[in-house]
């Protein structure tokens, strides 16, 4: 399968008043055409910052290092003007809250057609026609009428579809979706996830799905990358990580997620709180919350290393992981 994105040794650092915070460290992954990669983690794990960095959207006090290769172009460190030639055209990103991503003072058709005029040199009338067709493709009823509406006149699910339509207008090779269904109702969420599947299958778009919801991941992702404290701690296929997790944090996340088909008396959550990036524990940053931590974990940070079958994990522990009574 053709690789569309290759991220190597990427890190993201934020300057604070007196110190620096490393939001992402030593990130490595590749993304193939038409595949869906889920990036899973809790708040502060670095999952969103990593992709904002790739899009050149970091806050002013943030800087990214390393490489994010799209073909032979490195997106990291590229001038905004150069980046604008690729953003929207080759790589697009959508966010959790569609209302804040749309301009409230412009009609939907104006916002959508701009993309086509700017990136693909369409005539205005042709651009509006294509934009309306795209609205129909993403499942918006009465697309011609909606194209004339302002964002506030649409429901949350509809706005998210508009965002997806906008992202797809130039048929980007890569679509990054940051918690795209978190603000939506379950029935609308199901429609959205279905739309994502069509996208990757019909358009060959490579999808990065950033989420904390393992239920969403199970339905659509081919591969997963689990992040904790700014680093990837486990990588592999979705099936491998769900049915045979090797990192205690992955296992803990699975046990914390309620399953509608099982009414367990108790969940087996991970103890404690996610760490603050300013004060990461020594050794493995997960060690204070880990049920399997031993001496070595307190002093030596485990590197992300291959464990066979294309899987990788960052953990010293090699024994079996029987965990609570749900396991």
């Amino acid at each position: 399968m053709k690789q569309v994105l290759q991220v190597e040794d990427m890190s993201v650092t934020f300057e604070l008043h007196q110190s620096e915070v490393h939001a992402v460290r030593e990130m490595n992954f590749s993304l193939a055409q038409g595949e869906t990669l889920a990036v899973v983690g809790e708040s502060g794990s670095g999952k969103s910052q990593a992709f904002l960095a790739i899009m050149g959207l970091l806050a002013k006090n943030g800087r990214a290092e390393g490489r994010a290769m799209m073909g032979d172009i490195n997106l990291i460190g590229m001038e905004p003007k150069q980046l604008d030639k690729h953003r929207g055209k080759d790589i697009a990103m959508i966010f959790q809250d569609p209302m804040t991503s749309l301009n409230p003072t412009l009609k939907i058709k104006t916002q959508l057609s701009e993309v086509l005029v700017k990136h693909r040199g369409f005539e205005q009338s042709q651009a509006v026609k294509s934009a309306t067709e795209m609205l129909e493709r993403v499942g918006i009823p009465e697309p011609a009428k909606r194209a004339n509406a302002y964002p506030h006149e649409l429901s949350g699910g509809m706005r998210q579809r508009v965002m997806i339509a906008m992202a797809l207008l130039c048929q980007p090779k890569i679509l990054i979706a940051d918690e795209p269904t978190t603000a939506l109702d379950v029935t609308v969420q199901a429609q959205m996830l279905d739309l994502f599947k069509t996208l990757t299958e019909d358009f060959g778009t490579a999808l990065v799905l950033i989420t904390h919801d393992l239920g969403v991941v199970a339905g659509v992702a081919d591969r997963m990358m689990v992040m904790y404290g700014g680093r990837a701690v486990e990588k592999g296929t979705t099936d491998d990580l769900f049915y045979d997790p090797r990192h205690p944090y992955t296992l803990g996340l699975l046990h914390s997620t309620p399953h509608i088909a099982k009414r367990a008396e108790r969940l087996d959550p991970i103890q404690g709180l996610p760490p603050s990036l300013e004060h990461l524990p020594k050794g493995c940053s997960f060690n204070p919350r880990c049920a399997f931590a031993f001496d070595r974990c307190l002093v030596e940070r485990p590197p992300l290393a291959p464990t066979g079958n294309g899987r990788e994990k960052a953990c010293h522990y090699e024994g079996p992981m029987a965990y609570g009574k749900v396991a």
């Binding site: 009823p141 109702d185 199901a190 239920g215 709180l273």
Partner: protein, 339 residues
Amino acid sequence: MDQTPINLLEIRDLKKTFSVSSGLFSRPLTLTALENINFSIRKGETLGIVGESGCGKSTLGRCILQLLAPDEGQVLWLGQDLTKLPAEEMRQRRADLQIIFQDPLASLNPRMTVGEIIADPLRTLRPELNKQERRARVLKIMEAVGLLPEMINRYPHEFSGGQAQRIGIARALITEPKLIVCDEPVSALDVSIQAQILNLLSELKDEFGLTLIFISHNLSVVRHVSDRILVLYLGRIVELATGDEIYEKPRHPYTRALLTAVPIPDPRLARQRNIDALKGEIPSPINPPSGCTFRTRCRFAKPYCAEHRPPLETIEDNRLVACHRWREIEVPEEAVLGA
């Protein structure tokens, strides 16, 4: 001997409307948030209330607590109608009925210490307690919800979402309530913290003999905590049954569609599953469809459904369902989820 009636709370024919302005010179429109709501809660049970945004689930919670005054109907607390209670008596009654909110940080006063926040309800409800007695109670509750005693003088901004929610729970528990309405209590929390708070609520429920109303849009969470589940659609009850019944034999087409839309954290099941995807979105409650309000999205709808509103029927002893066609709609052999 415990003389408490089996039904702690009974809701009869509850209706709540809001008036919505439609422009400077037009007459305001009426939005019916809740209508024909009838159900009861037994002592010690957890009743889950689910539905999508705008279905009226939070409004229902607030009407029960009299934070919103219903237009019609009764809220019977141990036989006494709370809607008729004078303000001062209702204030005293609030010791029995408490609430926990979704956004834990927003619901805590940033200028009060944790100790002051938790003790606050005692000032109005138990004025006879002196400072030492209040402090002793606060410390006891803090321990029960997993907060350390030294946190008593700290301020809300020093806490993470999960800890802030523990403070909210402590504030609700301090008055020794019998019933707590939990309005999306874990929706704003990280997955691992969400599980901790769910476990805490279930422990506290046993320890203090609480009855819980658990409002959430997340069906997996509701299923996990609830004995019975009430499903709302556009301000009406469409189904009420035990968690197992709802999950194994959903009778209402909407319940069924909701269940199949719930993401399952199990890739093989997720791939096999037949999603009974609902078309479209929830209609506006200002102008709901005639007859059965769900008919516009229901794949079993017949012309009849547009003309007549389905009554809320009692079926199989203790379940409630509001659908003209529930008898004809077969429940698939295999559970709806493909499990």
